[in-house]
Amino acid sequence: MTEQTTSSAYTASELIAIMAGRLLVDGQIVFAGVGIPLLAATLAQRNVAPKLTILFEGGVIGPFIRPGELPPSTNEQRCTRRANMVLPSTDVLLLLQRGYVDVGFMGGAQIDRYGNLNSSFIGPADKPSIRLPGTGGGNDISSLTNMIVAMKHEKRRFVEKVDFITSPGWIDGRDSRARRGLPTGGMWRVVTDLAVMGFDAETREMEVLALHPGVSFAQVQENTGFPLRRAREVGVTEPPRREELALIRELDPDRLYTA
């Protein structure tokens, strides 16, 4: 990696999008949420995974999003540009249940040690201090396939236990997810502006797999509300490359999702 191909001038959101996009593999079928996931999947598709198939909740299979015309949600016509197929939104979600989807990819407001996500309530559900927008397809996606979550790494977002499980991760760890009646899927990766995390294969606790350039484990732990595990070998991610940054800025010139 030479100076010519890397760049250190990028926003946290750009970093997350690039790092998350790198987790996608060509040929996969990815159910992507709005925001960073949509951007990261499009980045991967244009960069290294031309045969990546993106699904959107609005009922879209395999579109190519046009640079500079990112949709405001995954339910507008911008999402359908040069798609292979559009179908009712219930049916695109049923593809998850049937098992056609390799990976679900979404953002998160609050996550806990076992990868459970909350996007519904801060505080008690019957008298919340903040009523969040809710699950959307998040609950369906995380109940039915393997998940990548992309989010900012802040202590208030990485909590010991979420106030409310909107999108189930590993529930209480170990085999509790399966015992609750979710035999498939589960939280696979959490990508933040500090690190890439996975989950211990046995306990299902969150563990740091790789740190982003210039980030220490202590720094990640400091921004996390529960003790993080370390993978046996904690790697360091390759810094964002100029081409990746150029591409992401071409895709989102108005910094709709990458401000």
């Binding site: 609005g58 949600s73 009712p88 939104s89 219930t90 109940s143 909107t166």
Partner: protein, 323 residues
């Protein structure tokens, strides 16, 4: 039938439908007349999703007509939900997601109403809502699903979802109850005077909603002859016998989009977001005064949005398909 029962019993469901004139007849009417088909307290399902094909003109008319105490359901709820709460039209919104849109942050109007107990946002997973409409469309009281299980989204629904054992495999799945709305509001690109509707592009849950509802109020960008419909019957998505009223409303989703016709009016959505950012109560009231109660009719509302703005949105809505 009131909207109190979770699942309407089959005899009543059949009787309610049998009582309606489902014959082939012309149903073209005005927004004002169509609004009389909605009664206070009804469960009203809204077609489209987020900023797409929202039947905005019909919602706008219902607010003007002073309807009250509706329960409203929609796959995903955006600014129309704010207006439903702020106007007092709806006391409950059944949806999987409710906010203006990710780029505008969390809806302050929704927060104000829900956090202060003024109205309810009843949350279901997106697929669960879809399957509830689908069960309603199929005339069965429930369908099994494999999501919501194990989450607090299911837990806070209490007796509204139930585990059920598959009689063949013995495994436990989740039963979600049929949803048969009293009225469905659906906006389409094209319909004939009988109510045969052809949808372009994203369908969302509209077909199931139409089949599940007691009756559909259809607004359409354009009324075409039955002859045109019959030349492309495999493009028809909603059959006439589900429909009770057909209203031609060009730009009927503004400030939201209509696939292939126009994009969202982002300037108008930004203006709204700025208004409620300062004060969700006063801001929403001002928006209602200015854009809902103020205009003398839908054309006057469109004029207020601005002809240049509309033409730009139309160009952007079509240009995507030039490629």
């Amino acid at each position: 039938m009131t909207s109190d029962a979770l699942v309407r019993d089959y005899d009543t469901l059949r009787r309610d439908l049998a009582a309606r004139d489902r014959g082939l007849r012309e149903k073209v009417t005005t927004l004002e007349q169509a609004a009389t088909l909605v009664r206070d307290g009804d469960h009203v399902a809204i077609g489209g999703c987020t900023l797409s094909r929202t039947p905005m003109a019909m919602i706008w008319q219902l607010i003007r007509a002073g309807r009250r105490n509706l329960t409203v359901s929609r796959s995903i709820t955006s600014t129309e939900g704010d207006l439903l709460f702020a106007s007092g039209l709806a006391h409950t919104i059944v949806s999987s997601w409710f906010s203006q849109g990710i780029v505008w942050g969390i809806s302050k109007v929704m927060r104000h109403h829900v956090e202060n107990g003024l109205a309810a946002f009843e949350e279901w997973s997106h697929m669960a809502i879809g399957m509830r409409y689908r069960a309603g469309a199929m005339g069965v009281p429930f369908v099994p699903v494999r999501s919501m299980i194990g989450s607090d989204v299911a837990r806070i629904r209490g007796d509204q979802v139930k585990p059920i054992r598959c009689p063949f495999t013995g495994e436990e799945v989740m039963a979600v109850p049929a949803l048969n709305p009293n009225v469905a509001l659906i906006h389409v690109q094209r319909a004939d005077p009988y109510g045969n509707a052809q949808l372009d592009g994203l369908q969302f849950m509209d077909i199931d909603i139409a089949m599940a509802a007691d009756k559909v109020i259809l607004t359409t960008e354009r009324i075409v002859s039955n002859d045109q419909i019959r030349r492309a019957p495999d493009h028809t998505r909603i059959p006439f016998f589900t429909v009770e009223a057909v209203v031609e409303v060009p730009y009927g989703s503004v400030p939201h989009e209509c696939y292939g016709q126009y994009e969202p009016i982002f300037a108008q959505l930004d203006r709204y977001a700025a208004l409620i950012a300062k004060d969700p109560v006063a801001g929403a009231r001002q928006y209602l005064d200015d854009y809902v109660h103020g205009p003398k009719d839908w054309s006057d509302y469109l004029a207020k949005v601005g002809i240049d703005t509309l033409l730009t949105a139309s160009r952007r809505g079509r240009v995507i398909f030039n490629d």
